[in-house]
């Protein structure tokens, strides 16, 4: 497992998505008794490669930088 830093963590990886509206569209019911904009959610998001819901600060060896 790589040591996480802003340069190489899930947030900067091409496989990771976490915008609040995206999360509410992917998780039906999230906006019923919670919210994509809630503090408790921090910046967590979905990794399409591993199909995980995890912290934006996480990292793994399949990291691919997002250049967009």
């Amino acid at each position: 497992m790589l040591k996480s830093s802003e340069a190489q963590c899930c947030f900067t990886c091409v496989h990771f998505h976490n915008s609040p509206k995206y999360m509410e569209s992917v998780y039906p019911g999230l906006n019923t008794l919670s919210s994509g904009n809630a503090s408790v959610r921090k910046d967590d998001g979905i990794c399409d490669l591993h199909e995980l819901y995890l912290s934006a600060d996480a990292s793994c060896e399949q990291y691919t930088g997002d250049t967009s």
Partner: protein, 467 residues
Amino acid sequence: MSNTQDSWNESGEPQKVRSMGWKELYLKEDWWAIWLGLGIVAVAYLFFINGSSIKWISILPPGKWTDFSVVTQHFAGHITQYIAQFVMWSVIFGISIRALGFKLSEFYPSFLFIYICSIIIFVVGQNKTVVNLNLEPPLLALLLGLIISNLIGLPKWMDTGFRVEYYIKTGIVLLGATLPFTLIVWAGPTAILQASIVSITTFGVIYFTATKMGIDRRLAATLGAGGAVCGVSGAIAIAGAVGAKKEHAPIAITLVIVWAIVMIFVLPLVSKSMQLPVGVAGAWIGTSEFADAAGFAAANTYDGYAGQPGIAGNAGDAVQAFTLMKVVGRDVWIGIWAFVLAIVATTRWEVKAGTKPNPAEIWWRFPKFVIGFLLASIIVTLIATHYGQADFKKTVVPEMVGPIKDLRTWAFIFCFFSIGLTTRFRELANAGMKPFIAFTSGVVVNVILGFVLSTIVFASYWSNMSH
């Protein structure tokens, strides 16, 4: 990548948002609930110390009525105030909704729908015949919302105005202004003790039942957090902290929503059948409801029964007891649960991706709106120290605290109606039988243990809160 909140970029790919650090102050709705709630308290105070009041704009429909002409005369005489209030809500919610990344072109028509329906809900819910059917406005709002969303349907874009959590968080901050800080200090430790007993026990029951049935530990923890800590918010916080599978959170979301809605109806009605004192019922709801929004709906409902034959206590006791139990006793600990479970996940469970648990998680995941709630309570308590008790009740309450409470009532009804409007049962994820059994086992223990602690062990606290 950008800091915008747009869901999709030009290529149709979902965007990313980094909202931690200072950006959190305008990218998280918890903080907007604080700005909005404390802003209202500040404006109410400024008006008050200048010999005026915000009660003109905090108008509510008439209370319990039998003759409809009372209603028509009320609106004929006060329509300007309702228009002004709608404009006020639209402006202050609109600023924050835009900052949070939503489209105002979607929010405004949706909020107009919410506002008009809320008026109808208030009016119908205060009719004496409806009251006798135990259909207090919160239940009416929820039922109407459920009927509309599941039997009629509305365009998805209207969800922009159905911001359940934002409305309830704003309402909770305003609630702080009506809750003496001395009460929080007095009852807080009891609430924390009782809530901790129930939360830890419930989490344990759900987690171990789930793992015994072979459910993934990450899902077991997510279910446990949903049932024991803080409903959907607890579930997604822990899911993210432990690196759960993508499909785990929706399972927990489904189970929390279904059971939370059941409890909105069951807890008040069972409490009423047992003639529980208002504060005691509020405490039970605080341990045995799963989400703040759902719990406030149930507690508000029970407050409506205060004064009915056999039900001791004052209107407002249930909401106060619920707030102490749920917000102070459970919500504030989300960050700690997330931190501890993150440590467990990274040291004992197999993880494909992760990060070293950081104690800063406790702050980052802390439900910040609680800060606004506490500040509002402290501010109004400090103001109260300048008045004798009689003077406070005679002047400060009707001219300052009362209007704040009325605006809180509006925020709550917006929330309860939105819960129903956003609960689309056919869109919820299939939870599966094993997660359902695990979660339900926790529900059973939670309800029984919460009942015993509220009605027996700590009953004297919750019965005597008003004193």
